[in-house]
Symmetry: C2
Subunit: 241 residues, 2 copies
DNA sequence: CGATTGCCTTGATTGCAGTCAAGGAGCAAG
DNA sequence: CTTGCTCCTTGACTGCAATCAAGGCAATCG
């Protein structure tokens, strides 16, 4: 393992994989339609790593020898700009693979990865994985599907950034994190408001102001808990505003 | 073929493939490391189609039965918003495949495609292509690489949209389309200024104003021809501005 | 317990880019 | 040559969001 990757606790190797982790991994679209044995083969030499908040997982430009599946916690992918600002291009949580494209191409990571909150990750070496993909058409196509999903989310992100106002982006974010389609809902934000703001391409102050504006539409926020009077009404903000 | 796809001229079938087209196709990363015979197999039932300006190739939501390689011309991918605005998420020209991800997943196109200027496209049926990919590991990994490239361009686009001012985005666009790294360069814009503006996430008026601002940095534009006094100086705008 | 720290909110101001509107350049057709 | 058209440019104005700055709230720690 490269020196960048240091587990918080001493555990390493496959022993860190809990039974619930296995269930999680096997339900990932990346391993859809594959036998447990085949999945196990893909995970050869993979390791469970635990990281504490703010740890750096990898930096842009590092050789991409591993890709990861989040077992628990949150991580963010971002780019740094010369003047110190950073652009968050994605955030991943339980069950989601990331850095797959970079690892498969044996290239370098095109973004930085940082732990948002204490996380457990499965680090899967690219070399063995690619070997399996070359032999297993199902796996290769699963990789395509996973990357395709991510691409669609990027397209959606670009669309939102260019066509929606800050308030509308916040409204859409809230709606997309609601369990129900309509009626009153209480949800709790997945992470720091500052990080959400970054994901939505705005400053924390602006995010705060947008939440304040949305109070007029039945959105009450107290800390990380948000109560929405009517999800449907929030969904329509883009149309009537 | 779906009714949306209507060739401008009467030609159809493989006969439309010029020798120079074959060279172009074989040099695509999508078919890297593959034998001419294997490539031919992938192109079974593919057709060359010619389209005139402003033609609609497909709409968001259409079943993605084909993907395309541009033989000549320009096409744009975009999304429509409820209020009529449109977000351009990509533009493709000679040698570039597009709509690959959608076709491979047998899904629907997530964006609209429109012909920017008179184009010749190779339309490749997804069904046969996917069958080949399942049998040919090299092809499957080439697909991954192609999608990975596109993903990186999306990440870069998101970064530019969130961190750069309109003028800086224009400057970067110009630099990225220069042949040389420094010194004086003359280039001609690949398409309408209005389309470039859309690709850069701004209004045509703003694009025009940005070009005007850049005159102070040695950029002279006359129609679609742009002369840059010093590419390096332009490249540094992001830093000192 | 009071103090410190981190996170969030709010206020005041500035600047950038969108919008509306008008005018100019180039081109094709008549 | 004139007309009409499209595309581009420029101007004036407005509005949104970034920035700078200050204050509130809660959790942590000595």
């Amino acid at each position: 393992m490269p020196e960048k990757i240091r587990p918080v606790n001493g555990e390493s190797g496959r022993s860190g994989l809990l039974p619930s982790d296995l269930v999680l991994i096997e339900s990932t679209p990346l391993f859809a339609e594959m036998s447990p044995a085949a999945i196990q083969a893909c995970l050869a030499d993979s390791r469970v790593q635990a990281y504490s908040r703010n740890a750096t997982l990898f930096n842009r430009g590092d050789p991409a020898k591993y890709f990861f599946i989040v077992l628990d916690g949150w991580i963010k992918l971002f780019r740094d700009t010369p003047d110190g600002a950073q652009t968050v291009v994605g955030a991943f949580t339980r069950g989601q693979p990331f850095a797959l494209a970079a690892a498969i191409r044996f290239g370098v990571y095109p973004v930085n990865a940082e732990i948002v909150e204490h996380s457990r990750l499965l680090a899967i070496p690219a070399a063995n994985f690619v070997r399996r993909a070359r032999e297993n058409a199902v796996l290769a196509m699963n990789i395509n599907a996973t990357m395709g999903d991510l691409m669609q989310s990027f397209v959606a992100q670009i669309e939102r950034l260019t066509t929606l106002s800050a308030t509308e982006r916040v409204a859409e974010f809230l709606v997309s994190h609601c369990s129900a389609e309509n009626g009153p809902v209480t949800l709790h934000l997945p992470h720091d408001k500052a990080l959400i703001a970054a994901r939505l391409g705005m400053e924390p102050e602006t995010f705060s102001r947008c939440l304040a504006k949305l109070r007029a539409y039945g959105v009450e926020s107290k800390g990380v808990d948000v109560r929405i009077a009517d999800v449907q009404a929030l969904h329509n903000i883009g149309a009537d505003k």
